[in-house]
């Protein structure tokens, strides 16, 4: 019952919070009426006339929207408030700062590859300033990046991508991938072999000995190895009759001194003490 209550609490709290925040932020806001289509098509203005900093911007830390002074180059900003402000009496301070998308982006880098802003800002040219402005959508990125992979996604990316993810939850990944994509390889309850060939059950012992830390990328060594080997009574293939010989220590003594971390997957100290008496 306790578990059930926890689940209900876990589910209901975020939802209540979402509802509250949504309602709180939706009430009484000013917004700017700016017809992009008129300025681009009729006035034939280039984007950088207003968005002057874009070409040199390598991140979304600061705002790339123009200050009101820029509007003042053509418009009387002291008199004609209603032309741009939807609620002049409750006018907000513009521009709002920075990115809200959670993803960083270098305009500088992308504009070196192509100079056409509408390649990403596809709907801006249709923006009449009256209908709600199209919000930035993640598919604007994935439209290109599903096909044109980033430069570091080379042939060894699959093997070494973990090292490139230096920071927690690198926002670059979320441009194209959801968590489920990560889980599709980084979880073990797969019915289809995702990262190992069909014989891996048979061959994994070698790789586990040589590169046990590779396993730990996905597997919790202390738990996962034990779950299979200990609980299901599956002996490693080298645990043959020679493993503990009647007339000698067999191979296990050497192995135990060399790789005790391997033994501890299944054996506690008691396993040793049972024969060795706890003194050796």
């Amino acid at each position: 019952m306790e578990e059930e209550e926890c689940l209900y609490l876990m589910i209901s709290k975020p939802i209540i919070l979402i509802t509250f925040l949504f309602l709180a932020t939706a009430i009484g806001q000013d917004s700017i009426i700016f017809p992009h289509n008129y300025h681009i098509e009729d006035e034939e203005l280039e984007c950088n006339v207003c968005h002057a900093d874009v070409e040199m911007s390598s991140s979304l830390q600061g705002s790339l929207l123009p200050l009101m002074e820029v509007c003042g180059d053509c418009h009387d900003v002291d008199e004609d408030c209603e032309m741009c402000h939807e609620s002049p009496d409750d006018a907000d301070t513009y521009p709002v700062s920075g990115s809200t998308s959670g993803t960083d982006f270098s305009h500088l880098f992308h504009l070196q590859s192509f100079s056409d802003c509408s390649r990403c800002h596809t709907q801006t040219i249709e923006d009449d300033g009256l209908t709600p402005r199209p919000e930035w959508q993640s598919w604007n990125c994935s439209a290109c990046h599903q096909e044109n992979k980033p430069q570091d996604h080379d042939i060894t990316w699959k093997e070494f991508h973990g090292m490139s993810l230096q920071e927690p939850e690198d926002p670059r990944c979320a441009t194209c991938h959801t968590e489920k994509f990560c889980e599709s390889c980084h979880s073990q309850s797969q019915f289809e072999p995702k990262t190992h060939d069909p014989n891996y059950m048979f061959t994994h012992g070698l790789e586990a000995r040589v590169e046990v830390l590779e396993c730990s990328t996905c597997h919790h060594i202390e738990n996962d190895c034990r779950k299979c080997h200990q609980q299901n009574m599956i002996l490693p293939l080298d645990h043959t009759v020679q493993w503990t010989g009647f007339d000698s220590a067999g191979q296990h003594g050497t192995e135990a001194l060399d790789q005790p971390e391997r033994c501890q997957v299944c054996h506690s100290s008691y396993s040793c003490e049972r024969c060795h008496g706890g003194d050796e």
Partner: protein, 398 residues
């Protein structure tokens, strides 16, 4: 499947919340559903142990349905969830599993994530019920904290471990530095570790990544690694070593040297021969008293590949390889498979153990959003002896 009253309530409540939040608040939403049905159940375990996990001896079908749903509100609030309804198995003692269920708030200098979420970190990844805060205000700083720690994303067992993970990143002219500190709190014990990662571009061709971390409880290094990449045109050579201290002195107090470490060195190459072909090789050696080594080489041409591997440990040697490939059979159908064969020479000339693994599949794309895949697996080795199964995978993307 044991769909009792509590289970039905949980599932109903869960989907009610998802649907209502979507209808009331959503600007844009995305839903994908995938279903696996496999028979017979994966049963390489000894039958006598099946009862122990309450897997249900009478069930011959193993199924799983994954639902992934996300919705965005005002471009800065995101609700994301992955849930799973499926057969019980030794890892999952519940039919209904929530793998992710969080709300993410993105503010100009701050990102806040509340709910059940995965923690992806270079040093540790897991699943927690908690909070993540990320800010760019002071360089880049992130902290995760929460309870119900799970090391496996499908694990539905109860766990009272707690995790606190903090990291900060800064870029300098000497490369990027990330500092990590994390603690797992279990039964009142605090297992504290900290690490530093340094990425440095020596020149245009050479990049070096260094890991170093410390286990404060055992006062020992925890995980160290150096990895070097050197590029030349379409070719890359890489080398490095990795080492982790396993703190086993609590388990085997009689072992004379208690500071055991696993040190592996590796070297490899990767080459893009042309737009269709790549070749990769890797040689790994573990520097232990009984030197172990492992070699793997693979060649890919379009969607076909061949892999050869060999290795040696103690007196045992393993050889083998795999071929795999896939091809289009019409506009909406794709067929593929993988065949693996290996031999293990256990002790010199006395024993030879062989293994065979076959995996075949056919994928049919019914429409832009719906596809299904029929697959079969066959194994013959000393774990399974002889075993086979088949299944269907269906995915819908809305």
């Amino acid at each position: 499947m044991d769909l009792n009253h509590k289970m039905i309530s949980k599932i109903t409540l869960y989907f009610l919340i998802i649907i209502s939040s979507s209808a009331l608040l959503a600007v844009e939403s995305h839903l994908s559903v995938s279903q696996y049905i496999v028979s017979p159940r994966i049963n390489f375990f000894n039958d006598s142990t099946v009862d122990h996990y309450e897997m249900g001896n009478d069930e011959i079908i193993h199924f799983r349905t994954d639902v992934e749903y996300s919705t965005t509100i005002r471009n800065n609030i995101e609700l994301y969830t992955i849930t799973e309804i499926g057969s019980k198995n030794y890892r999952n003692d519940d039919n209904f599993r929530v793998r992710a269920f969080y709300t993410k708030f993105t503010l100009p200098e701050l990102q806040l994530k509340i709910g059940r979420q995965s923690v992806w970190n270079p040093y540790y990844h897991s699943l927690i019920d908690g909070v993540e805060i990320q800010t760019k205000a002071l360089s880049k700083f992130s902290i995760n904290f929460g309870g119900g720690l799970k090391t496996e994303f499908f694990d539905s067992s109860n766990d009272d471990q707690k995790l606190v993970y903090a990291s900060g990143k800064t870029k300098t002219s000497f490369g990027d530095f990330t500092i990590h500190g994390w603690s797992i709190i279990s039964d009142g014990d605090n297992h504290l570790k900290a690490g530093l990662i340094h990425k440095y571009k020596l020149n245009k061709q050479t990049r070096i990544t260094t890991y170093g971390s410390w286990d404060f409880n055992h006062n020992l290094p925890y995980y160290n690694r150096i990895h070097i990449n050197r590029y030349k045109g379409n070719h890359k050579i890489f080398a490095g070593f990795r080492q982790r201290i396993f703190s086993i002195d609590d388990i085997y107090p009689w072992i004379p040297d208690k500071k055991w470490s696993t040190l592996s060195i590796y070297i490899g190459t990767s080459s893009r021969l042309n737009s269709n072909s790549t070749i990769n090789t890797k040689l790994v050696n573990r520097l232990s008293e009984n030197s172990h080594w492992y070699f793997q080489s693979s060649f890919q041409y379009n969607t076909y590949s061949i892999m050869m591997m060999s290795g040696k440990y103690d007196d045992k040697s393993l050889i083998g390889g795999a071929v795999s490939g896939s091809f289009s059979a019409g506009e909406s159908m794709r067929v593929g498979g993988n065949l693996s064969m290996n031999s293990l020479e256990l002790d010199g000339d006395t024993e030879l153990s062989d293994a065979l693994g076959i995996y075949v599949w056919t994928e049919i794309k019914v429409s832009q959003n719906i596809k299904f895949k029929i697959f079969g697996q066959y194994y013959e080795n000393s774990y399974y002896t002889v075993d086979g199964r088949g299944g269907v995978f269906i995915s819908y993307d809305f």
